[in-house]
Subunit: 204 residues, 2 copies
DNA sequence: CCGATAAACTTAACAGTGTTAAGTTAACTT
DNA sequence: AAGTTAACTTAACACTGTTAAGTTTATCGG
């Protein structure tokens, strides 16, 4: 069994090597011009070899981007655990979401613009463990905290979470795809957006 | 000159024919699978012919989508002229923006996800006449009206306009690319988002 | 009416893309 | 040593957008 184990480990290592080289190429080339053939050439292998380790291009790119999403989830969990005012935590979390998106435009593109139906239905999404699900739940928990501590008006946490998410998502996406937008300063718009959203749900 | 005019008119007509056929194909195929070769085949021409009327694929698709954007601008101008409470007008305009995006996902994709730098810098964008510019200005004017009639707090109209725009944009984009999102009802989320944004800037 | 010019359109090709069936080489098992 | 299996490659399919060069067609001046 030791030999089989060794082979398996080697296979794992090679998979990692593909991921790492792919990430490099992906970052220097960007989503639009990344190609399986370029990756294969960079690795000194034939393009078909990659298909022995990944189902297809989307599968590979998604693996890369999920690793970034995982890091973000960790950071988000960190924010959630901090001994801070829930509203301040929410603000921090939303601004962190925006910051991460803006700093990793290509990763963000893959996470939200390829694999169109990876989410499935809501129940599917909520049952199957995924980083996207856990991130959503982390945000929702902070929102719940805001309501439970009477700082937010009584409203459906799910609705608030989705409202906040799409709004921040919009800022990221617009900034990523239109290089000169927003016209006003990015950071100011980010803060204004987040503060506006919070103000709409804050009591008094 | 009459013959030259006739030729020019014919050329115009043929251009229109390409646009109309392309829109048909574009709507039935969607952005991802629309191709110049399919269009040429549908028209009974060689693919190269299209390049005599349009610079490239993006140019053609953008022309199609700008026509929809033009219609929307007209509708928006209509709303602006209505004898209504400015805040109600703003609400109507924002909901109309969302509705149009959701009803024409492929057009929306082209308008915001191809031609990444058509906008240019803010001054360029503001000087060169374009539908995007006029739409932006139309929204901003409604926002100004809300401030001038003392219904909105005193804040920079440009900042508010951009904040509102990216937020609604986010809802549209998320709905378009993730077919099952949002989990809660689309229309409810749209109303919640718009009302939240307005609430954040409304006096009292 | 005829030859020159210009416009309209096509053929064939370039340079790519993702992906797969089939074949080859190398390593391990019996 | 022979058979099996895993790893990897070759060659091809079926596409994509785009362009240089060639052909057909129609208009214009003499």
């Amino acid at each position: 069994m030791s030999i089989k184990e060794k082979r398996d480990r080697h296979k794992e290592e090679f998979r990692r090597e593909i991921i790492d080289t792919a990430r490099e190429l992906f970052i220097e080339e960007g989503y639009e011009t990344f190609s399986m053939r370029k990756l294969a050439q960079k690795m000194g292998f034939s393009p078909t070899t990659i298909y022995l380790y990944f189902k297809d291009k989307d599968d590979l790119l998604f693996t890369i981007c999920e690793e970034l999403a995982e890091q973000c989830l960790l950071e988000l969990t960190e924010i959630r655990k901090q001994n801070l005012d829930p509203v301040k935590k929410l603000r921090k979390a939303l601004l962190f979401h925006i910051k991460t998106g803006l700093e990793n435009p290509d990763h963000y593109k893959v996470l939200f613009f390829v694999h169109p139906d990876i989410y499935g239905s809501q129940t599917e999404f909520m049952q199957r463990p995924s980083i996207a699900r856990d991130t959503h739940l982390a945000f929702k928990d902070i929102v719940k905290e805001c309501i439970d501590t009477n700082q937010f008006i009584k409203a459906d946490p799910e609705t608030i979470t989705e409202t906040f998410f799409v709004a921040t998502h919009g800022l990221i996406v617009m900034s990523i795809f239109k290089s000169n937008y927003p016209w006003i300063d990015r950071d100011i718009l980010a803060k204004t957006l987040v503060d506006s959203l919070i103000r709409a749900y804050r009591k008094q």
